[in-house]
């Protein structure tokens, strides 16, 4: 059974439908990129998959014994209130929350995991700093480190490289690839970087006026890709 199956899914807000009749599935160790124009509903789709909002129709099934607590998530935007006093370390560590269950405190392994992920994303020197006082790219890295702490099986990323400099962007892509290939973590990523998407991902879901779901090789030959990659697909 697939890790995640979406069947005839419709989504939207308050009675207003954005996308309908969407069907696709994600298997273990897949690397799926979701592409599409601004406002086509990518973030909405991801939130629906995560259970943050309910679908207007159709179903989402998690298979292979995937539990909600084994998911890592990087939001597109996190609205953190002004003045929220939180250090980088506290935030990254909060990614381990889903491993704790009802246990009140983090254990050694979890703290170690947080340290490793901060190291991985070059945050070690910032770990005592206040999150609100970091730059946009630094904040993005903190949230990614948190997502890495949370995941054991599947990682959902909503535009992980937006706001990162070219060097860190490349490192980020390598890191995600490594997580996918070496650690066997399933990746679902929303991206506007179509070139990187077709280079790294093995499956593409294109949503918008034309919908495409399938292997990357197939996508490159499809109509959806033709308009989109040339740029005239952007209305």
């Amino acid at each position: 059974m697939a890790l995640l199956t979406c069947q005839d899914l419709s989504l939207g807000y308050e009675g207003h439908e954005i996308l309908s009749h969407l069907s696709f599935e994600v298997n273990k160790k897949d690397y799926l990129c979701i592409v599409g124009e601004n406002g086509s509903g990518k973030t909405t789709l991801m939130k629906t998959i995560l259970g943050l909002q309910s679908p207007m129709g159709g179903s989402i099934t998690m298979g292979d014994g995937l539990k909600q607590t084994e998911i890592g998530y990087l939001p597109q935007q996190t609205v953190v209130q002004r003045d929220f006093p939180a250090s980088v370390r506290e935030i990254v560590l909060s990614g381990c929350q889903n491993r704790c269950g009802l246990r009140p405190f983090y254990n050694k392994e979890e703290k170690q995991l947080a340290e490793e992920n901060m190291e991985r994303l070059g945050l070690t020197s910032l770990k005592k700093r206040c999150y609100r006082e970091l730059s946009g790219g630094q904040q993005q890295r903190v949230l990614l480190a948190r997502a890495l702490c949370a995941t054991q099986k599947i990682l959902l990323l909503d535009e992980p490289v937006s706001g990162l400099d070219p060097k860190v962007t490349q490192e980020m892509y390598h890191l995600i690839e490594e997580l996918n290939k070496k650690d066997g973590i399933t990746i679902i990523m929303i991206s506007h970087d179509i070139e990187a998407a077709v280079r790294y991902a093995d499956h593409i879901l294109h949503i918008g006026k034309t919908v495409f779901f399938g292997k990357t090789e197939g996508y490159l030959k499809s109509e959806a890709a033709y308009g989109f990659m040339r740029g005239d697909g952007i209305a």
């Binding site: 995560l50 943050l52 909600q68 003045d83 006093p85 506290e90 929350q97 009140p104």
Partner: protein
Amino acid sequence: MTEVFGKIVLYWQYPFVRYALIVGVLIALCSSLLGVTLVLKRFSFIGDGLSHVAFGAIAIATVLDLTNKMPLVMVITILCAVLLLRMGQNTKVKGDAAIAMVSVGALGIGYLIMNIYSTSSNLSGDVCSTLFGSTSILTLTQTEVWICVVLSVVVVAVFILFYHKIFSVTFDENFAKATGTNADAYNLLIAVVIAVIIVLAMNLVGSLLISALVIFPALSAMRVFKNFKSVTYCSAILSVSCALLGILISIVGETPVGSTIVAVDIAVFALFCLIGMFRGGVKA
């Protein structure tokens, strides 16, 4: 100076003063713990609304002539906390408006009930002490002291046990939910704990000044510290010291306890604003 000291020593011999200090310190500790969460989540409105609900509940308890008002007040306030939380989550009814409705309604009805049914000769005195807690801390019975102590211990224990979860839910509720933390349950827990704290704090500062007791220490701490843990520790320490100082000043100077504590809190807030400015350069 020795005169002031002598006065304190003299008063210390009275049990009600000792009770007041013990209970005051515990309540101050509890109320500071959730301050940050309250400030940062929309829950600050709930806190404010609940204090008015608690006033209404006291009115009912007074009219019923209960010897021990706290259990009834506690039940009503907790129920309202759950109700307000539900309303706040409902996107159709605007949460803030609902809270304003409930809180002002409770205040109005409470005063009305007291006016109609109260047999007390000193009605405005009763109302005033419920609103501003002018004497209630000094007139606690031994049972009430014990209830306060037990509840405070429970609140502190719950806070320590759920500290990390409260942090996650306060910082980023969506992430917590998406990764399988039962955010709704923790929101409910936070609301119930806030209700308990408010009923406790009514004894110390009265219902109108509760928000000040809850929010000022957290705001002061946030001026200077930038991580959750330090802010939590700092606001706990500030709250306890301000309460102690406030109670002592009010004993010596014969001022109302609640407003004196709040005045001390405000003074400390001003001080911490200054410290914050010097530390981090001038910021908006």
